[in-house]
Amino acid sequence: MSTVLIYSFAGIALVCIGLLGLLASSHVLRKILAVNVMGSGVFMMLIALAARAQPPDPVPHAMVLTGIVVAVSASALALALLRRMRREEGSALLPEDRRE
């Protein structure tokens, strides 16, 4: 199996694992981790597809570079929201997941 195929399938697996983690976990921090895993899977599919050409296609590289920086800022915002929610409501779980 070629390098491109190996990493393409790994990317797909990461997207699926991330999606399942996002839907199934109840702690918001873990949901943020899951979204990041999902994003990494998308990045991996893009970079693997770019590597089909010789030399690799630079446009997906540029898009993923942009994506990494946007992902960290989105995560920072999500974490700030999470901390605010925890300060206001005393829980890091979404309301429907809280049990007394």
Partner: protein, 316 residues
């Protein structure tokens, strides 16, 4: 493409998938975050294997380093609440798993359905390279061919800072014991990081590197400095100007180019290299400051946080 090492690639791909699975099911959130940082580093290795050194540089500094620091900081502040046990296999969970599996099957199908002679935009980029003003195709795509994207991306970063400032979320930062090791390390590391960032900015024109990678290094230095000697830049005008300088320079250059008749972000081929370097220099400093601001937050909450830290600490 680097040398063919199928066994190594297969092992790395399996490791990545395993790490992702572990970090989502492990009970301990601290452990999950540490696994996520390992995942980021392994991802950087995968980018090197896929001949994407520009992406690898950014991933190692941002994906593993900075995101990890942000997550660890939050884990530390959230201590005291136990995570509920993972859901038992229920109808809902099985539906979620089937949804994820269906998505995976669709992606596999679309990946296999691509024609063998599909090479993306490689040829178009190669044809346009002589007019781009740089010789690193990734920098050409970022700052020239798709400059619009990068301009708007910097705007997105500014929005995130506004959000973090508005949420005003932190309790007072826990002052870590700034031991002699961290201080001594910083004395050597900070000048090195600044030099390396400058080098990456300059090298980005012809080799892996550029504004984002340089900014990531500078931001890492800023975060380390904050850990050793907590600071806050507040929300005053000088800070706002510095945060927006990258976006402003980018936009002004774009509008100037419209005025001289080139079109929005259409550089004249002869001077494209100079314009790109000017934009990148401003963008690097602003992005670095933005990333540090995302970590440090604003000054207001520090004062307010101190005042009502006791009132808002949830019962452990």
């Amino acid at each position: 493409m680097p040398t063919s090492l199928p066994a190594f690639d297969a092992l790395l791909a399996l490791l990545l998938v395993w790490l992702a699975g572990r970090l989502l099911v492990t009970r301990d959130l601290f452990k999950a975050v540490v696994l996520f940082m390992v995942f980021g580093l392994m991802l950087a290795l995968a980018w090197v294997r896929l001949a994407a050194p520009d992406v690898a540089l950014a991933e190692a500094a941002i994906g593993a380093g900075l995101t990890g620091a942000l997550l660890l900081d939050t884990v530390f502040r959230l201590r005291g609440e136990a995570e509920p046990p993972p859901p038992r296999p229920s109808a809902g969970l099985i539906a979620c798993a089937m949804l994820a599996a269906a998505l995976g099957a669709m992606l596999v199908w679309s990946m296999l359905a691509l024609p063998d002679d599909w090479f993306g935009l490689t040829r178009e980029v190669a044809a346009a390279m002589p007019d781009s003003g740089v010789t690193n195709p990734v920098t050409a795509a970022l700052l020239n061919f798709r400059g619009y994207d990068t301009l708007l991306e910097i705007a997105v970063l500014l929005l995130a800072v506004l959000g973090v400032w508005t949420l005003n979320a932190e309790p007072p930062p826990a002052v870590p014991a700034a031991g002699p090791v961290l201080e001594a390390l910083l004395r050597i590391l900070l000048p090195l990081l600044v030099v390396a960032a400058g080098y990456l900015l300059w090298a980005g024109a012809h080799a892996p590197g550029g504004a984002f990678q340089g900014a990531a290094l500078l931001a890492a230095g800023g975060v380390l400095l904050h850990l050793a000697r907590p600071f806050s830049f507040g929300t005053g005008w000088p800070v706002r100007l510095a945060l927006t300088a990258g976006f402003a320079v980018f936009l002004i250059v774009a509008l100037l180019l419209v005025l001289v008749g080139g079109g929005f972000l259409a550089y004249p081929p002869k001077h494209a290299g100079t314009w790109i370097l000017a934009i990148e220099a401003a963008a690097m400093l602003s992005i670095a400051l933005i990333l540090v601001a995302l970590f440090v937050g604003s000054a207001r909450h520090t004062d307010r946080g101190r005042a009502d830290a006791g009132a808002h600490d949830p019962p452990a």
